[in-house]
């Protein structure tokens, strides 16, 4: 899958978790600029990513994966 396709998947996941159909996610989206991406959502997000892609994240990856760009890097590296 291409980075662009992963971005699309991520957008779907963000839309579901945050219950916002029209949310647009880009490489630049991060915990800094997406208000609803709080620490609680962050934990849910990683649980959903692990389930969706059948992968596992380390504690450190979870701590550092606070932007879409980093998440895409993870997905590309793991899949």
């Amino acid at each position: 899958m291409s980075r662009q396709a992963y971005l699309g998947k991520l957008e779907e996941i963000f839309c579901d978790i945050l219950d916002e159909d029209s949310l647009e996610i880009t490489e630049e989206t991060s915990q800094e600029n997406l208000e609803d991406w709080d620490s609680l959502t962050h934990v849910t997000l990683f649980a959903v990513l692990e389930d969706e892609f059948s992968i596992h994240f380390s504690v450190e990856e979870m701590a550092k994966g606070t932007s879409v760009a980093v998440l895409l890097d993870y997905l590309e590296a793991k899949l």
């Binding site: 996941i13 978790i17 945050l18 849910t44 990683f46 649980a47 959903v48 994240f57 380390s58 979870m62």
Partner: protein, 592 residues
């Protein structure tokens, strides 16, 4: 909502919880509000969000207080003002084995381990005692789940300093406490985690990352399990199981195969499986669940199947038998009418997915568990969590018998004709008196679950009922009723609050089991008599409408009260001057 019934898709719930919350909230108008304090020994945010979904799904509207991270003990012991202000209706203490801080070290002497154990017991006991003093509300406490690893392997539960042994003893200590404190409800986390699978339950990443004491995927299962206790405490358990017959209570189709060829009994594995399910239904009946039948069959065939020599259930076990060719949703509504219960308090058990879907779509709120393999019917029904036991009273155990007597009464009524004559011929005897300690549990249970004949639908906890029973400001009455067919039990409750020479009726309820028996007349007679002795000259009654209590909209008018005023949203207040009140009851004898 099917997504919130067994079997749970935990990841779906985690992912879609906001959308589900939005949908459930839109339909939650008029739900009773329940203030839930979650006192956690680890992170509880996700838990509270999922718990909210399950409670809304069962008709309760929760608001939450969460203690700060791992402040469950401090919040109570140091009386956190925020928690005091919140004034919870129910407390859930989410502690886990992560909160067993002082565990024995290898090689410790028995005496040292014993000291640690006593300290740990004292830590919790002081906390529970204090919570009871402060809040007088039900407290749900997790016991401890198995550890994620065992240093001493199989000896961990055996050697004096084994951690598993320590944990088992703590769990026993909680059981002992539960047996002596009626407001204390154990949540068996040990079972919940084991049932899910200990290996999957624990996720140390979630602990190190966010201090969750269980895997995210396990949280919906925990929330479901805890919600079931809260649902039961608020009287929202299901009350009856409506079962299909062919391939549900026995293997085969009785109308085609004939009784002699049904698979039921110990001869074959299949027969044994159906027998086991019948045994489970029989046990449900023993804890107060009503059984009924909705089957596509000729009635004659249905009855002959139930008379199979190996059948554990017989026709008499069912309060209603609808064996005909009408759609099952119609039959279910008829059964509900006959039993004076809401169809939303039923569970429908049928092996046929098409029938299940029909009933699910056409009977709002009914439970429809996925009965797909007859070998696991028991487990599926159990895991669906419809009959969580919180207060198992004598009355629950005798309920089947009482409904049976009701059936006899109806038959008797048809044979007499004149209604007053019929009532007289029932030889009814009532006991109507102020609350007594032995009945408080039954009284609070009735307050929690009576929806139809309940003029204000005010809910009282056991603790509130206890305090009313000793408060001189209140006049309170319970009513028990017997008749020629047996005992109906404690079936009516009235609570009045003194305001000078007036008595304001805060609560008037009656079990639907004794509708149309003029028992309300007998109750009013006794209320009036007690008022006269206390120098009270006027009764004030209020009707507060709900979706379910239309049958009492004109209750006070029927009792001879005059209208004071109409209230917002269809309510009304009523007044009765006691100076010219004449006794109403002439069909029930009152026990002195």
């Amino acid at each position: 909502m099917e997504e919130l019934e067994y079997p749970l898709d935990a990841m779906f719930l985690l992912r879609k919880k906001k959308a589900l919350l939005r949908q459930l909230t839109a339909e939650s108008e008029g739900f009773p509000v329940v203030k839930v304090a979650i006192l956690g020994g680890s992170t509880t945010d996700e838990l509270s969000k999922i718990l909210e979904l399950f409670l809304l799904n069962k008709g309760l509207k929760p608001s939450f207080y969460q203690s700060d991270y791992n402040c469950y003990w401090q919040d109570v012991m140091f009386e956190n003002p925020a928690l005091l202000d919140f004034a919870p209706d129910v407390i859930y203490v989410h502690t886990t084995n992560r909160n067993l801080l002082h565990l024995p070290s290898v090689g410790m002497y028995e005496k040292e381990v014993e000291d640690l154990f006593q300290q740990s017991c004292e830590h919790f006991q002081r906390f529970w005692d204090k919570a009871e003093t402060l809040f007088h509300c039900p407290l749900i406490q997790n016991n401890f789940e198995p550890f994620s690893y065992r240093l001493l392997g199989h000896q961990d539960g055996v050697l004096p300093y084994g951690h598993s042994r320590f944990l088992d003893r703590m769990n026993q200590f909680m059981v002992d406490y539960a047996q002596e404190h009626s407001h204390f409800y154990l949540h068996d986390l040990n079972y919940t985690a084991s049932s899910f699978g200990v290996e999957r339950w624990h996720d140390s990443s979630a602990w190190f990352s966010a201090k969750y004491a269980l895997a995210m995927e396990a949280i919906p299962h925990l929330a479901f399990s805890v919600a079931n206790i809260m649902v039961s405490l608020h009287g929202k358990n299901k009350k009856a199981v409506v079962v299909d017959l062919d391939n549900t209570l026995w293997g085969g189709v009785v109308g085609e195969d004939g009784v002699e060829n049904l698979k039921l009994g110990l001869e074959t594995g299949t027969g044994e499986a159906f027998l086991a399910f019948q045994g489970y239904l029989k046990s449900l009946q023993e804890i107060g669940v009503i059984l009924a039948i909705a089957s596509k069959n000729e009635e004659e065939n249905a009855i002959s199947g139930l008379k199979h020599p190996d059948s554990l259930l017989s026709p008499e076990d069912f309060m209603s038998i609808k064996a005909n060719w009408n759609p099952k949703d119609e039959n279910i509504r008829l059964i509900a009418q006959e039993l004076n219960l809401g169809a939303d308090s039923f569970v429908f058990v049928d092996d046929n997915p098409a029938e299940r879907e029909l009933v699910r779509q056409n009977v709002m709120g009914i439970g429809v568990p996925p009965m797909e393999d007859y070998a696991t019917y028991r487990e599926v029904l159990h895991r669906s969590g419809y009959f969580e036991v919180t207060n198992l009273t004598q009355e629950d155990r005798a309920r089947h018998e009482m409904y049976q007597q009701n059936k006899d009464r109806t038959a008797f009524c048809y044979s007499t004709g004149n209604y007053e004559e019929y009532l007289k011929s029932l030889d009814m005897v009532a006991e109507i008196a102020p609350f007594q300690p032995v009945f408080l549990e039954r009284i609070s249970q009735l307050c929690g679950k009576t929806n139809q004949f309940n003029v204000t639908t005010k809910r009282y906890t056991l603790e509130e009922i206890q305090s009313i029973s000793t408060d001189e400001q209140y006049l309170h009455f319970y009513g028990k009723l017997w008749d020629r067919f047996g005992e109906n039990g404690l079936v009516s409750v009235v609570i009045g609050r003194r305001e000078g020479d007036r008595l304001s009726l805060d609560l008037w309820l009656m079990s639907c089991r004794v509708l149309k028996r003029n028992f309300e007349h007998a109750m009013l007679d006794q209320v009036v008599e007690a008022c006269r002795q206390q120098g009270i000259s006027t009764l004030i009654g209020t009707y507060l409408p709900t979706i379910k209590n239309k049958m009492v909209a004109s209750f006070y008018e029927d009792m001879g009260f005059s209208l004071e005023e109409y209230l917002e949203a269809g309510g009304s207040t009523w007044k009765l001057l006691l100076c010219d009140y004449k006794r109403k009851n002439n069909v029930i004898k009152i026990e002195e």
